[in-house]
Each structure stands twice: as C-alpha cells, then as structure tokens.
C-alpha cells in the first residue's frame, strides 16, 4: 500500500473522544453495577457538553440521592450532590444567584418525580435555564429495587411484590404541561440520538428536560425476569419506544404503550427566568 493511502485511511478513523478531559479519574471506578445504563448516559452527556463547548468552570452539576445522582462525583465541574429530591431546588439557588453558570441536573426518576416532584413542576413553570436529565429506570436503584412513579403498572418491585397497582407518570408530559420550554426523550440504547438530544437541550435557553430511559438490570431486570442487561435494553429501550419520525406516521393505537423519542417540545420564544429577573432589576432601578 502506498504511504499516501495509509495516511488517508488513518484520517478517516474517528479520533476517540477524550472523556478524560471531563472525568475526575482519581474518583473512578464508579459505583454503578455492570450492565447499568447510567454510565452510557454520562458518556453521551460528556460528548454533548463537549459539542456545545461549555467551559468546565462554568458548569454546576447538581444531583439528589440515588445511583444516578452519583454522576457529579465523577466529573470535573462545580459539583453538588445534594439531598434526595432537592437537586432542582438547590440548583435554582445557584442559577439565580449566578446566572452566568450553566446548570445540569442529573437525577433519577424517583428523585425527579416522587420526592422532588414539586420542585420539578415549579422549575418547569418558571422556565429557569437548566438542563434536567432524568435517568429513568423505572425503579429505585440505590435503595434496592422499590417501586417508582415510573414503574409500569403490573411490574414487580420489592414494594410491589404482587405487581404494581399504580399507574405510571409520563415525565415528559408532566414537564410539558408544567411549562418547560424544551422537552425530549431518548434512551441509553440510542446513544447517538441521546447525544444529539442532550446537545440541543444544553443549547436551549430555558428549562430543558430530557428523560432518558435506561435500565437497572440488578433490581428491575431480575425482579421482572429479563434475561440480561442487553435483553432489557432490547425490550424496553428499543422495542418499547418509537422515534418521533416513526410516530408521525402511526396512529395512537399503533403507538400503543410505547414511548415516543426525540424532541417533543421546543419553544424558543418563552422568557427565561433569570432574564426576566434581570429585566425586573433594570426596571425597578430606573424607577428608583
């Protein structure tokens, strides 16, 4: 082979993404179980952050308590591992006090929608500029597999041992109805799509919510008789969802109980909360 051809071929090879730039390597290995989807979410998130080009010192990553909420410990930003359910409220304080910061909130479905549901709703209503990433695994991972507001009806968990009798929350529908100006859904299975969606979410000014369907093979998988982590991903994240493009050509019946992926809402005209506050300050200071 001619030398020139070899060089050409080399150039075609994608440069591997340098995750180390963003990781606190001394804090690894992470606590997540083999097969857990949380690590995939983190990878996509770091790629998205890189794409947007955020300065590490400008990022505040806040979380609550849960397996997913351990994410901030591994990344080289201003990181705030707060209390179960309270991440969005802590983050609201940081953002309002220092609007130039970029806020990412990485939390579980229990954190976002059960104990922290009220903060979630009201942050959406305020349209405050932050990106909330819900690692939605339909179970409480950290405490060992209890039912969550996103556990499907009939599913098994350690606190629904006869099958879950409660209907599940649709996180995206809640976010949309509450006033978030950007709402999207993707899965850990669709890594590239996830990266794109997260990029758009971070770039969006205002409240952006991304529900990421991911899996807890250890607690949800075992109790609900999935054969393996990959089997779970196939069934829940691949077969259990349809892309936005596909959904356009399907009737509601055809979609059935599958979740629609992609950007579900993007309103670029809404007023962001901190901007509104700055306007208020300008107005009252003139009056003074």
């Amino acid at each position: 082979m001619a030398e020139g051809a070899a060089v050409k071929k080399k150039q075609k090879v994608n440069v591997p993404f340098d995750y180390d730039k963003y990781l606190r390597k001394g804090k690894l290995p992470h606590i997540w179980c083999p097969g857990c989807g949380h690590g995939i979410v983190l990878k996509s998130l770091l790629r998205a952050i890189d794409k947007v080009g955020l300065d590490k010192s400008s990022i505040c990553m806040a979380s609550g308590i849960g397996c997913s909420s351990r994410t901030p410990g591994y990344v080289d930003f201003n990181t705030l591992h707060s209390l179960h359910g309270r991440a969005i409220a802590f983050a609201t304080g940081v953002k309002l006090a220092k609007p130039e910061m970029n806020i990412l909130v990485t939390i579980g479905d229990g954190d976002a929608l059960a104990i922290g549901g009220n903060h979630f709703i009201h942050a959406c209503r305020r349209n405050i500029d932050m990106t909330v990433i819900i690692y939605s695994n339909a179970i409480y991972g950290m405490t060992g597999g209890q039912v969550s507001p996103t556990t499907p009806e009939g599913a098994m968990s350690t606190t629904s041992p006869h099958g879950n009798m409660e209907p599940a929350f649709d996180a995206c529908a809640v976010a949309e109805a509450s006033g978030a100006s950007f709402v999207a859904r993707s899965t850990a299975y669709h890594m590239q799509e996830l990266e794109k969606v997260l990029t758009a979410a971070i770039e969006h000014k205002g409240m952006s919510v991304v529900e990421v369907l991911d899996s807890c093979p250890v607690y949800y998988g075992r109790q609900n008789k999935y054969k393996s982590a990959s089997h779970m991903m196939e069934e829940i994240e691949k077969k259990g969802t349809v892309s936005g493009a596909q959904a356009k050509n399907l009737s509601e019946e055809e979609i059935g109980d599958r979740f629609v992926r992609g950007i579900l809402k993007q309103d670029k005209d809404g007023v962001e909360y901190c901007d509104a506050y700055d306007n208020l300050i300008a107005k009252v200071q003139v009056k003074k």
Binding site: S57, T79, L83, V94, L96, I281
Partner: protein
Amino acid sequence: MAAERVKKLMQGNEACAEGALYAGCEFYAGYPITPSTEIGEILSYKLPLIGGKFIQMEDEIGGMAATIGGSLAGKKSLTATSGPGLSLKQECIGFAAMAEVPCVIINVMRGGPSTGYPTGPSQSDIMATKWGTHGDTPVIAVTPSYVPEIFTETVRAFNLAEKYRTPVFVLFDEIIGHMREVVTIPHPGELEVIDRAKTDVENKEDYLPYDNRFEIPPLAPFGEGYRYHVTGLNHDEDGFPTNDSKKIDAGNRKILAKIENNKEDIWSCEEVDTEDAEVLVFAFGSSARSASFAVREARKQGIKAGLLRPLTIWPFPDEPLRKAASKAKVVIVPELNLGQTVLEVERTLPGVKVEGLHRVDGEPITPAEILEVIDKYK
C-alpha cells in the same frame, strides 16, 4: 460632620430585613408563613433595588435548598420562616451544617405543635433548633429581645455564619416580630460586617473545600474555577465521600469543635445586677423584656434579683450562666413553652434550685407573674 443616622419606627420583621441588607445579604429564598411573612415581603421589594435576588419557592424545603445554592454561588443568603416551616427545612439545614455552607435562618416563633397558634407568640422551638435535624449537628442561634436588637443580631448572625461556615438561626417571636420600636440605622461601617474568607491557594486545582490545615477552611464560590465537590455524605477534605472510619469520625467532630472551641466569641449576654444576685432570672426574647421589669421592681423591694439575658442561646451559654449564678439561691426561667431552656439551665447548675415559669396560651409572660415567683424567694 457625619450625616444624621436614619431613625425609623419599624416592625421587628422589618428590622430583620434591614439588618440582613446591612449585613450584605443579596439572596433570599423562602415560603410565606405567619408571623414571619413580612421579612420575605420586604426583601422581595428591596433586593431587586440593589441587584439582589428574591425567590418565593414552592415550599420551605425548596426555600432552604435554594438558600444553600445561593450561598454556594457566593452570595450571603437568607431564609425566614416560622414553626411548621422550620420542621420542613430541617433536612436541608443539616446539609448546610454538614457541607459547611454559611446561611441565615430566621424563625419567628409561633405557637406549636403543628399549625398551633399562628398569630400567637411562642418560644417553643428552642430544642427544635438544636435537635431538629438528625445527627449531631452544630448549631448557632441568636435571640434578640428588642426591635433594634433584631437589626443588630441579624447582622451578627450573618457574621457568625460567614465566619464559622455554618447555618445560623435568629430566633425571635411573634411579639417582637410584629411590635414597632424605633430603630436607628447605623452608618455603613459602623457595625462590623464579616465577609467570607477567600482562599489563597495559588493553583486552583489545589483548593480543598475542607482543608484540614484550617479550623474553618475558606469556601470558594462556585463558578470561579475551583471545581470542587459538595455532598451531605461524610467526606474527606477534598469534599468527596469517604468510607474511612477515621475520617468519618474526624469530620463529625470537626464541625462541632469549630463551634465548641469558639464559644466565647459566639456568646453574647446582657447582665443586669448579677454580681450579688441571689435570685437570678434567666430569660431571652420577649420574656426577657418582662423579666427586666420584674428584676428592677424586685430590687426596689430590696430583693437581690438579677437578670441574665442571653443573646446567644446555642451554643448554650453555660459558663456565663455559671458565673452569673455564683451567688444565686434560685434561678428562674420564664419561657413561652412547657420547659425547654430550663433543662439546659438545670444541666448547667447541678445542685442549684431552678424554677421554670411557662405559658403556652398564646399570651406573653407578664412582669407581675415573674415578680410573683421572685417574691417567693425573698
């Protein structure tokens, strides 16, 4: 010649808001509750005027969480509440203590338990302030008795919070929260205002938020390149969680020791005729107003009565109390609860007769009631 100081007839809650602004507060997050609501209302008007931020959160938990967030972003931060709101804030208050994030919590006490008596005065949150959140938590609480003192004690609370990197409570009650008295606003610089210590590490990567070289390590604000980790878990000096039992033990002791070792700096008491007092009254907040009348009356009657009025109730002023009670036959503790502070007085003075005087009917303790007890010991 220096300009005249502004003198204004104001409500206790207004004096509190003004004190916060004097201290450099730029951030408030809270949720309305009687009888503290005016503090938030006033700051919602005044903070934007100075470029500060006010946010009414969806509940008190959110109010406390956002207050901590505002402080991590580098702003002096405040929240205000009353009884039921205090209960809701407790988990977050523990976080602030554990993660050593300065902030000030105003609690205008009202009757409890539960919704209790919202418009009535009370001093029933003394123990809830000290022991309300789980774990061995360091607590500083100041207790003004007069409206002008609410102003100065709020300033002091911010100073203590920043100096000791810890949440600080200002406890007063509905009586002085809603009473109007004349407050003379000090000129800037007239009262001490302590700002947060700045780190002097040259290389930002070397910054340790819990640097063991310091009793109280400087807290760098988020967003200035230090990129550290904050957690409510037991942590190492770099802020990351630890399972090392030695470090867990050391960390738990360190946050308490920084208060314990500096009690004399944190304590503040007013003493009236304590040198020869045989009957000592130990009273704070609105009860101390009545007590000061009663003690004066008793002196007129020839009774050797004295008053110790703590402006710091936590850490409990045991040494000042021991000193003031050195000649006392009896210590009388009037308080608007069914016996809280009196327990601390008994613990401090074994062998000394201690008598509590308690009311929980939503009415203040009167000077006559206190005098009646004093008279028993003449």
